[in-house]
């Protein structure tokens, strides 16, 4: 896995802030950010369900793996030098369950955080 493309909701302020934060972090795997559902996204990934990528953050590896929602977030953390160990802690079922619930809640209410 040499590159991760992150399709993010460009209309959501929280998502834009998250995108900026991710872009600033030191990365093991380079992160590329593309607005979800936009022309560039559709051009890059013609076979992808772009409506789904508007509902939930979608990360696509250059090797073809597609991660959505909480899994996409974990992959982003895994790609960062400082947070890879946090991502790896998600191998514990309890930690994963809690993280998944938290991410889904924040994502559902993301337009409330501005």
């Amino acid at each position: 896995m040499r590159r991760l493309t992150i399709l993010y909701d460009a209309d959501c302020a929280l998502c834009r802030r998250a995108r900026a934060w991710l872009g600033r972090q030191s990365q093991y795997v380079p992160l590329v950010f593309v607005a979800a559902g936009g022309e560039e996204a559709r051009g890059l990934f013609p076979g992808l369900d772009h409506d789904a990528s508007l509902a939930e953050i979608t990360v696509i590896a250059d090797t073809g793996e597609i991660y959505r929602g909480p899994k996409a977030w974990i992959i982003c953390l895994w790609a960062l030098r400082r947070h890879r160990s946090t991502a790896l802690a998600m191998r514990t079922p309890g930690a994963w369950w809690a993280a998944e619930a938290f991410i889904r809640q924040v994502s559902k209410n993301r337009n409330r955080f501005a």
């Binding site: 696509i60 073809g64 597609i66 991660y67 974990i74 992959i75 895994w78």
Partner: protein
């Protein structure tokens, strides 16, 4: 008769021998850690050598700095007590440096392993193969 000079000489001999012994132990056994971290033997040997030089500098520095004794040494008993105090200090500093080195090795190794860890989650799906 003031036994201070024989005491100083004994202190230096004992301290230097101890330092050399610990340094050689670290050099020999630390190599395995470093080869694991760096994956290349020449790089591991190079880093190992550099770390040992640093180790000698700090420890011999302490040994020489701590040499000076306050009063006179007028009896063998006084000599032994003074020696034990000084050598004790050297051993504690050596011990601290030794554990510090192990801590550094262990951190380097953990960070190196992190680099090679695969993702902790399975993908939801895959892209169709490229045309």
């Amino acid at each position: 008769m003031d036994l201070i000079l024989p005491t100083y000489i004994a202190y230096l001999i004992i301290s230097i021998l101890l330092t050399v012994w610990v340094a050689r132990t670290l050099h020999r056994n630390g190599r395995v850690f470093l080869v694991d971290v760096f994956r290349r033997e020449d790089l591991a040997d190079s880093v190992n050598h550099l770390l040992v030089v640093g180790f000698y500098l700090v420890n011999l520095g302490y040994v020489t700095l701590a040499l000076k004794l306050g009063g006179e040494i007028l009896s063998s008993r006084g000599a032994v007590e003074a020696l034990s105090g000084k050598v004790g200090g050297v051993l504690l500093v050596l011990g601290f440096m030794h554990f510090f080195n192990l801590f550094v090795f262990s951190r380097m190794r953990k960070r190196a392993r992190l680099r090679h860890e695969p993702p902790p989650v399975e993908p939801d799906s895959h892209l169709a193969p490229a045309h």
